[in-house]
Symmetry: C2
Subunit: 470 residues, 2 copies
């Protein structure tokens, strides 16, 4: 492996850290909530400004609808290899900050407390973008230019399921072409190991709605008027039983049996029930999905069906005696390779009809297929190797994450290996109140990306040579 | 029957109507939401002002906690019978106005549209109090004084289940002593018949809460973390089946078999499925409770179990991929004579434990027993008879209403017959958006109360004489 001296990169990263934190804080002040469509244009403008300040060129793509996709390009330096390109995938949108009263600080007023930076979106995913742009600055200082071309795809609808990304990837396939991709997220696990993934689960995020009447009614009519809330509850109860078995016929259709190497990788994943319970304050023991007996297997290989939200009638303090006109549930199904979100939607519709609930409307808020990269690609080994050097500890690489993203579209259009790593930590609380990153992880993440980029062309070349030699 | 000439009472009511409407509008401007504790002192002050302006004396009772109970007293006139007393029961609190976006007018800015007065609380129960006070004014003008003593008990916690009323009734039993009671509500049915009741259902309003963790989590952990929303859904589904049978063991314990006269009265009640469906915009046919086959029977004789509210996780627009830390449901059980709210609470707790849901907390927001008056008391006949004269149409009298109130405490402490009648109509939408009364019903209600009071002493006396003669 060629490239910079690691210590030198570390020194530059330390030097650039304060201004990187300032840049990140400013970025975090935008309440870029895609679910609610807030602060999109100003955030896009700020992303372009950050790219420009790091010496790159940006293009805003918005001709295919949805929130704009920002394309960023940084050319290889005079000493770099312009035949090699690395693509970073990030998103500038964040989850809604609710419930607000559980934040110890303002979600859009970034606060540093005990070496941690708290704000909505700091871990998912604004911190990673700033770390990557800072790595570019580090490389320029250390090497006088970039070791390869670097591209960014920064979208604004990841948190609502990237509903418009696929057409952009298809149309701008040439623009985004690269040799490998670093995905948006990652971080330290409970034993301080960097935890990465080479794939991702898919999703069918469904909304179930039962409308029983035009208006809310006095609850005394419950003697003879059917109740939308009861119907929704009864319908949901037919979809998953108390043992957490998903009962929707067709739900498990098409699931690809994991490869032996993937199974072995999963067996090696660390997992501490004690740590998980402590971090979330769990009141009950862990469950395991119907087909898996180990949480590791469930995390990687098993689909889920999770109620993310329920609402009907009066939800304020005290008693309101109302028979609600409607009830709805948000149900998030995480899918594994081989499952098709459209088939899940159809299966749920058929299931409800079969059980007498054809008055319950089902719509898909977003659907994405799962993806797993080729686990044996040299890029995967290169990311692992550089992580070990930087973090001075063996990292973890799962065949796919328990989370979701539009990786399937990248894989299909760009045909490249993808590894996801980032600056989070085990208590980052993505999607929850008090989201945070630790500044030391942020600094190490900058170094890792700089070091990985520094050796990137050589790693690919040596792999090519090996392949040619065979 | 003695008392005023009916036409004369009608003339005075018409004359006093405009100022009565003004008084009512001012009363309706107070957002007296007991569930949220708003506007209590100013409403109490206004109630005292109304009593005083009608020539009565008021006393505010607040020594036993809760929102104050207003006692009002009007002495019989020189030509009246001071040995006879009628008690009116009313409440000055109202339901929360939500959902606000479904109101066509401001809920606390009373609006007259097409002869209807729209505001939160106008039908339940502020309109009735003003009608009764106006009836007193009508009688004073027509007869130069009142035909009997008149008392008022006006409480401020009916909409949250009158949790503090029983101790006041017990302590101030002598103060409220009367020969008969007119209860708070009533109105015209879909065929323009005045609809009254001589009893009331009870209530056990329960709150079920499941807490799964200290914080909301990213929904990807659904592979191994148990979900409070799923647990609540599964638990509720064990309590009532798809055929609306309540499955909680002990729920039906102690129910008194209705008397034959009550059964006959219920058979005679009017009921139009078409009208009910049209008024509420129902999407499905009516249901009937497990043990009843006719909506009339269900309405009067069958207990209910209604989900009034459900909430968990993210309920905003779009998708938030969260695994909720908790979930809760508000469940309103309407009870019939013989059922005990405390026993219902215990039965639900036992049921949940038996089905493996001992992590679900159950609390009772309010509990009240059902009550039925003696259907054969002469006061009941007098109210029916005067209604027939005033409304020029046969009225309806059910043994008890489908709704609830603290009637059991009145019956137990004061031992008197109780009939409920009022100025509502079939589309009053109590507890729902666009609550209204029709001004013509308000006027007729004033006349009915004046005419009923006018003949009240004679009706009781003739009954006493009949009893003595036997």
């Amino acid at each position: 492996m060629t490239g910079s001296n690691l210590q030198e990169l570390k020194n530059y990263a330390k030097e650039l850290l304060p201004s990187a934190i300032d840049t990140l804080k400013e970025y975090l002040r935008f309440p870029t909530i895609s679910a609610q469509g807030t602060a999109i244009p100003e955030t896009v403008q700020y992303v372009e400004k950050m790219i420009s300040e790091a010496g790159g060129h940006s293009t805003v793509l918005d001709d295919l609808g949805g929130n704009p996709v920002v394309y960023g390009f940084f050319a290889a330096g005079p000493k770099g290899d312009s035949s090699k390109t690395l693509l970073f995938y990030n998103h500038y949108d964040v989850q809604p900050p609710e419930p607000l009263d559980e934040w110890n600080s303002e979600p859009f007023n970034p606060s540093v407390i005990d070496g941690k930076l708290f704000a909505r979106g700091v871990a998912d995913n604004k911190g990673d973008l700033v770390a990557r742009l800072t790595a570019i600055n580090v490389l320029k200082q250390a090497e006088g230019g970039l070791p390869c071309n670097i591209k960014f795809l920064i979208e604004g609808e990841e948190e609502i399921g990237s509903p418009n990304l696929a057409p952009y990837l298809k149309k701008y396939k040439e623009l985004f072409q690269a040799d490998a991709c670093i995905w948006e997220f990652g971080g330290k696990d409970e034993e301080e190991r960097i935890s990465m993934v080479a794939g991702i689960k898919g999703m069918a995020y469904l909304e179930l709605t039962c409308v029983g009447a035009d208006i809310d009614m006095h609850s005394s009519v419950g003697a003879y008027v059917d109740n939308a809330a009861w119907r929704l509850v009864q319908a949901l109860a037919t979809m998953k039983n108390q043992d957490n078995e998903i009962l929707v016929e067709g739900f498990y259709d098409g699931i690809q049996e994991p490869k032996e190497s993937e199974k072995q990788a999963v067996k090696a994943l660390p997992f501490s029930e004690e740590a998980v319970s402590r971090i979330y304050g769990l009141k009950r023991p862990l469950i395991t999905a119907a087909r898996g007996s180990d949480p590791r297997d469930a995390m990687v290989f098993e689909p889920t069906m999770t109620i993310c939200g329920l609402v009907s009638g009066y939800t304020g303090p005290g008693a309101k005696t109302v028979l609600p006109k409607s009830a709805s549930a948000k149900v998030d199904c995480r899918l594994v390779p081989g499952q098709d979100p459209d088939h899940i939607l159809e299966s749920v519709k058929k299931h409800l009809k079969k059980h007498g609930f054809d008055d319950i409307e089902v719509s898909m808020v977003n659907g994405q297929k799962a993806y797993r990269s080729d686990y044996n690609h040299p890029f995967v080994a290169h990311v692992m190797q550089t992580a070990r050097d930087v973090y001075e500890k063996e990292g973890i690489l799962a065949p796919n994450s328990a989370g979701t993203g539009p990786m399937y579209d990248f894989g299909e259009q760009l045909e490249l290996p993808i590894v996801s790593t980032g600056v989070g930590w085990v208590e980052s609380k993505a999607h929850a109140p008090n989201e945070s990153i630790r500044l030391q992880d942020f600094e190490q993440g900058i170094v890792h990306m700089a070091y990985m980029l520094s050796g990137f062309p050589a790693a690919l070349k040596s792999a090519e040579e090996e392949t040619n030699a065979i």
